[in-house]
Symmetry: C2
Subunit: 259 residues, 2 copies
DNA sequence: ACAGACCATTTGGGATCCCATAATTGGTCA
DNA sequence: TGACCAATTATGGGATCCCAAATGGTCTGT
């Protein structure tokens, strides 16, 4: 249990993301105090945090207004994150002394492969897969030698699907066992990209590492676009339901990769 | 005049940057209340802001400790920013409907050229040049179509030389009229890079736009390294004194480019 | 003399109060 | 009837108070 203001910020953030607070709605300190039964101090801290995250901004005159969170915005943020990850991959490929990091990445790749080969995509498997994906991506961010890359990524990781290692799945297909082959193929392709990134970094090929990571990031954007194509009224809320790692109440990225 | 907590955050931030608060120093709310004669509410808001900026972090038990701001860290942040700007350049090259933005960029380039051709690098000229440089770079960030690029850049712009359009000069050379030719040459090269970026964007050549912007960003890093080579004990404070736009107490980037 | 427990002081989180000011409403005058 | 001005209210910023938790030092018992 964190402090009240942190919890409050999380609550409000998700109220904004899932549409409880509509775009343009005005937030006043007093209302939030009343509805959450807390005093104004934590409310003010929470609002300040959300303002810095860009979820809300000072309105004209008084009060805050909630910013719009759109599918397009998520895609843009994923693009930014992917671009930063590609920088990390390039830098890591140029760096020396990374055997430990490489080992951890290789292990994550093998474990993901094993999980895919199980053939069943239940929640437990997805959770494990996400953990390994998280390990792979965080290792690169942490091991690239430029700590600002990770810092900057974390700065935007409050948005859905922006946390390190986030994955998007077609839950309809998984739950209904429909098109499961297509989903598994997608996962296999994703992990093969992991292999290429690993190899490029290991062989100190920065251009290939950067390019492959960029491609890998594009995968998520394209997958989101598949959803958009299938459902032209796709909401951010829908998108969240398709992602592994629901409400990230636990700040899992704090632990990092342990190095 | 902003609110007290904003001013306080600015003050503490610069105390950290210029070394008044040493790396690892503990900040307690009570001390800051006492030394700045304010109550704990604004202090807490200021500390929260600085924490999110990464300038300080929660210590082991109680209190905050100041993070180290090093020349190496600045270089890393400049690299991140440059990488994001190269994404912006690529995206803008791919986009349509940007004649206004292109006009503004062309105008900035010509004005910078005119300022360089004056041959004298007094403070007023540098300030004007910085303004044009700011226009050029912000126009790309704002006009690339991905608003998260600009947002993410702004997230790290509290560090010295990270604000949009920041420039680094060899003040020793300027004040003492020594090596002024070398400085002018450097400026001319920088502006020629501007021209190439402009041309690539105008001709919708994303690869060239991205590559040239990356090169343009590297220029600042290399320039910093020139200073490091000349003075092996170069401090962040020294670096700040070499940059145009001292303490950015005025949040000049708020105005943007007007679109 | 050393170890463990206990107490005091420090410190941070939260609640409440006060005040300045922006927004709104109502009234009056042209 | 419409516009302008004043009074009231809503709201946010800052100050102060209270409480819980943690830290450090001391005291006592073995």
């Amino acid at each position: 249990m964190s402090s009240i203001d942190t919890e409050l910020a999380n609550t409000i953030r998700w109220d904004i993301i899932d549409g409880t607070f509509a775009h343009g709605a005005r937030l006043t300190e007093a209302k939030l105090c009343d509805s959450h039964n807390v005093s104004r101090t934590p409310v003010r801290l929470a609002l300040r945090r959300l303002e810095q995250e860009g979820m809300i901004r000072k309105g004209e005159g008084r009060g805050y207004v909630v910013e719009e969170v759109t599918v397009e915005g998520i895609k843009q943020a994923v693009q930014v994150r992917g671009h930063l990850e590609s920088l990390a991959a390039r830098l890591m490929a140029q760096s020396k002394n990374k055997p430990q990091d490489l080992d951890r990445m290789a292990l994550a790749i093998e474990r993901i492969e094993a999980l895919i080969d199980q053939g069943s995509l239940d929640d437990e498997t997805l959770t494990k897969m996400h953990a390994e994906n998280f390990t792979f991506h965080s290792t690169i961010l942490n091991g690239c030698g430029n700590s600002y890359v990770k810092f900057t990524c974390d700065q935007i990781s409050h948005l859905p699907m922006l946390a390190s290692g986030s994955m998007v799945f077609d839950r309809d297909s998984i739950d209904g066992k429909k098109d499961i082959d297509k989903t598994i193929l997608r996962l296999k392709i994703g992990n093969s990209q992991h292999r290429i990134i690993y190899k490029a970094i290991e062989q100190e090929d920065p251009v290939r590492a950067e390019g492959m990571m960029r491609e890998h990031s594009n995968t998520m954007i394209e997958y989101i676009e598949v959803f958009e194509h299938r459902n032209t009224k796709l909401t951010v809320r829908d998108l969240v339901s398709y992602s592994v790692q629901g409400k990230p109440d636990k700040e899992s990225q704090k632990t990092g990769t342990g190095n």
